[in-house]
C-alpha cells in the first residue's frame, strides 16, 4: 500500500476521534445517574436516565437563561447585520477618502481585548441603570460583534460582481436602489452566514455577561452553567446536560452552514 494514501487517513481518523470523544463522553455522562458518574467509568453506558435534564428545567428554571441568551444574541445580531451591512457595502464598493484607514481601525477595534473595556462599561451601565438588563448586555456585545460583522460582510460584498450594479446604474437606477434591488438579494447568503457567525459569538460570550449581570433572571446560558452550584458537591450531571443544551443551537447552525462558514472565516484571513 502507498503510505501517501493511508497516512492521511489515519491522521484524520485520529483527529475525528480526539475531537469527538469529549463530546461523546459528555453526552453519555449527562444521561448517567449522579451516583455513578465517577465510579469505574466505562465507555459504554450501563444505565441511562433523564434525571439531569428534568432537574434543569424543573428545579433550575433553565429556560430563563436560554430565553436571555436568545434575546441578547438575537438583538445583537440583527442590529449588527443591519447597521454593519450598510457600512460594509460602502467600505467594499464605494470610493471615499480615509477608507483604508477606517477599515484598518475597525479591524483593530475587533481585536482588542474585552477586558480592557470592562471597567468603564460597568461604570457607564451602572450610571445608566442598565446593569442586569438586556440593553446592558447588547450594548457591550456590539464592541466585538460590530467589527466582526463589518469585516465578514466586506469580504462577502467584494466577491459580488461589480458589473451588475453598474449596469443597473447605467439604466438610471440610483446607488441606493441598485444596492437594495441588486446587491442585497445577491448578498443574502453572505448576510445569513455573517448573521450566524455573529450569533454564535454572542451566544458564546462569557466575560461581559458575567460582569454585567447580577442574578439568574438576566444571566445568559454560559454564565448560568459556570455558576451552577450543588448543595454539597459540583452537580456534574446537570452541568453536562446544560452544557450540551448550550452547544446544541450553535452546533446545528454551524453544521447546516459549514461550507459557507469555512469560506467566510478563511476568505478574510487568507485571501483578502
Amino acid at each position: 500500500m502507498n503510505p501517501r494514501r493511508w497516512v492521511p487517513a489515519i491522521v484524520l481518523t485520529l483527529l475525528v476521534a480526539a475531537t469527538a470523544f469529549p463530546l461523546y463522553w459528555a453526552v453519555v455522562s449527562s444521561f448517567t445517574p449522579e451516583s455513578r458518574l465517577f465510579q469505574s467509568p466505562s465507555p459504554i453506558p450501563e444505565q441511562l436516565v433523564l434525571d439531569h435534564y428534568r432537574a434543569l428545567f424543573v428545579e433550575r428554571n433553565f429556560w430563563v437563561p436560554i430565553r436571555n441568551s436568545l434575546i441578547v444574541a438575537g438583538t445583537t445580531t440583527l442590529f449588527c447585520v443591519a447597521i454593519g451591512g450598510l457600512a460594509a457595502y460602502a467600505l467594499a464598493r464605494l470610493d471615499f477618502r480615509g477608507k483604508t484607514l477606517l477599515l484598518g481601525g475597525i479591524l483593530a477595534v475587533g481585536m482588542f481585548p474585552q477586558i480592557s473595556v470592562v471597567s468603564p462599561l460597568y461604570l457607564l451601565l451602572r450610571e445608566l441603570r442598565l446593569i442586569n438588563t438586556y440593553p446592558g448586555l447588547v450594548l457591550p456585545y456590539l464592541t466585538f460583534a460590530m467589527p466582526l460583522t463589518i469585516w465578514l460582510l466586506v469580504g462577502f460584498f467584494r466577491q459580488l460582481p461589480a458589473e451588475l450594479e453598474e449596469a443597473a446604474m447605467v439604466d438610471g437606477a440610483s446607488r441606493l436602489r441598485a444596492f437594495r434591488e441588486i446587491i442585497v438579494p445577491l448578498a443574502l447568503p453572505g448576510l445569513a452566514t455573517t448573521g450566524i457567525l455573529t450569533f454564535v459569538y454572542s451566544w458564546n460570550e462569557f466575560l461581559f455577561a458575567l460582569s454585567f449581570t447580577l442574578g439568574p433572571e438576566r444571566q445568559t446560558v454560559p454564565v448560568a452553567i459556570a455558576l451552577f452550584r450543588g448543595q454539597y458537591q459540583v452537580p456534574w450531571g446537570q452541568i453536562l446536560a446544560a452544557a450540551l443544551i448550550a452547544t446544541a443551537p450553535v452546533t446545528v447552525l454551524v453544521l447546516a452552514f459549514q461550507r459557507r462558514i469555512v469560506q467566510g472565516l478563511t476568505a478574510g484571513a487568507v485571501k483578502g
Binding site: 497516512v7 492521511p8 487517513a9 491522521v11 484524520l12 483527529l15 463530546l23 463522553w25 459528555a26 455522562s29 458518574l37 465517577f38 465510579q39 467509568p41 454593519g84 450598510l86 460602502a90 471615499f96 477608507k99 483604508t100 477606517l102 477599515l103 484598518g104 475597525i106 479591524l107 483593530a108 477595534v109 481585536m111 482588542f112 481585548p113 477586558i115 480592557s116 470592562v118 471597567s119 468603564p120 457607564l124 457591550p140 456590539l142 464592541t143 467589527p147 467584494r158 446607488r175 462569557f206 460582569s211 452553567i225 459556570a226 456534574w236 453536562l240 452544557a243 448550550a246 452547544t247 450553535v250 452546533t251 459549514q258 469555512v262 478563511t266 476568505a267 484571513a269 487568507v270 483578502g272
Partner: protein, 305 residues
Amino acid sequence: MPTAEPVRGRERQEARLARWLVLPAVGTIVLVALFPLTWTVWESLHLHDLRMPWLGRPFVGADNYIEALGNPRFWSALGHTVFFASVSVGLELALGLGFALAMNRAFRGRGPVRAAILIPWAIPTIVAGLLWRFMFDGQGGIVNAVLVAAGLLDQPRVWFIHPQSAWVPVILADVWKTTPFVALLILAGLQNIDASLYEAARIDGASAWRQFRHVTLPLVKPAILVALIFRTLDAFRVFDLIYALTGGGPGTATEPIALYTFNTLFQTLRFGYGSALSVIVFAITFTLALVYIRLLGADLTGARR
C-alpha cells in the same frame, strides 16, 4: 473634457453617500468601544475604590501602573499568560499544519472531517472548559481511569491541586478547541497553491520532503502567520477557559492577566488599579495587532475585487 464635471460630481455624491452609510456603524463603535477605552485610560490615572466611595476619585498619576509593576501577582499573571500562549499556540500550529496537510491529501471524507472539527470551534469556550474539567476531575474521572488502566499512572492523580499538573487540562482543552480552526486556516492556504508547482518539482526529481520544504512551506507561510497572530492575540486574553477549568488555581498558579484584572475589578472593587491592568493588557495586545496589520494589512484592506 465635457464629461469631467458630471463624473467628478458623481464621485463626490458617492463619497457623501458612503459617509452616510458608514456613520451609524462608526458611531456605534466610537460609543461602545473607543469612548470606553479612553475612559479606561482616564480611570487608570485615578484612585477609584468602589468600596470606599468617600475617598472620591483623586488623580494619582502613574501610581496604579507603578503598583502593578511592583506587584509579584501581576508579574506571575503575565508569566502565566505568556506561558499559556506560547505552549498552546505552538502545539496548535504544529498539529494544525499536520491536520491541514492530511485533509489536503485525503480524497474522501473531507466533508465529515470538516463537520467534526467545526464543533469544538463553535461550542462556547466555557463549555469546553467544563467538559475538560469533568474529564480530569476527582479520583474517578475518565482521564485517571484510562491512565491507570493503561499503566501510565500507579494511582489516580488529583490534577487540579498541583501548580504544574493543573496546566495539563488547560493546555489540552485549548488545543482541543482551537486546533481545528488553525487547521482550517492553513488548509485554505494549502488549497491556494498551484498544483503545477508540485508537478514541476516532481519532474525535477524533488523528494516529498524537498517538495514540502521548498514548495509547500514557503507558500503556506502567510496562512500560518495569520493563524499564529490570531491565536496569539486570542491566547493573550484567555479568560473563559481558565475560569471554567481552574478558576486560576490552585491559589493563583494558573491565573492569567485577564482573570487577575477581572478579580481586581469585581472582587476587590479597585477600579483605578484594575483599569491600569486593563490598559496594560490592551497595550500588549494592541502592539501584537499592529504587527499583524503591518505584516498583512495590504492584503486585508486593499480593495481587491
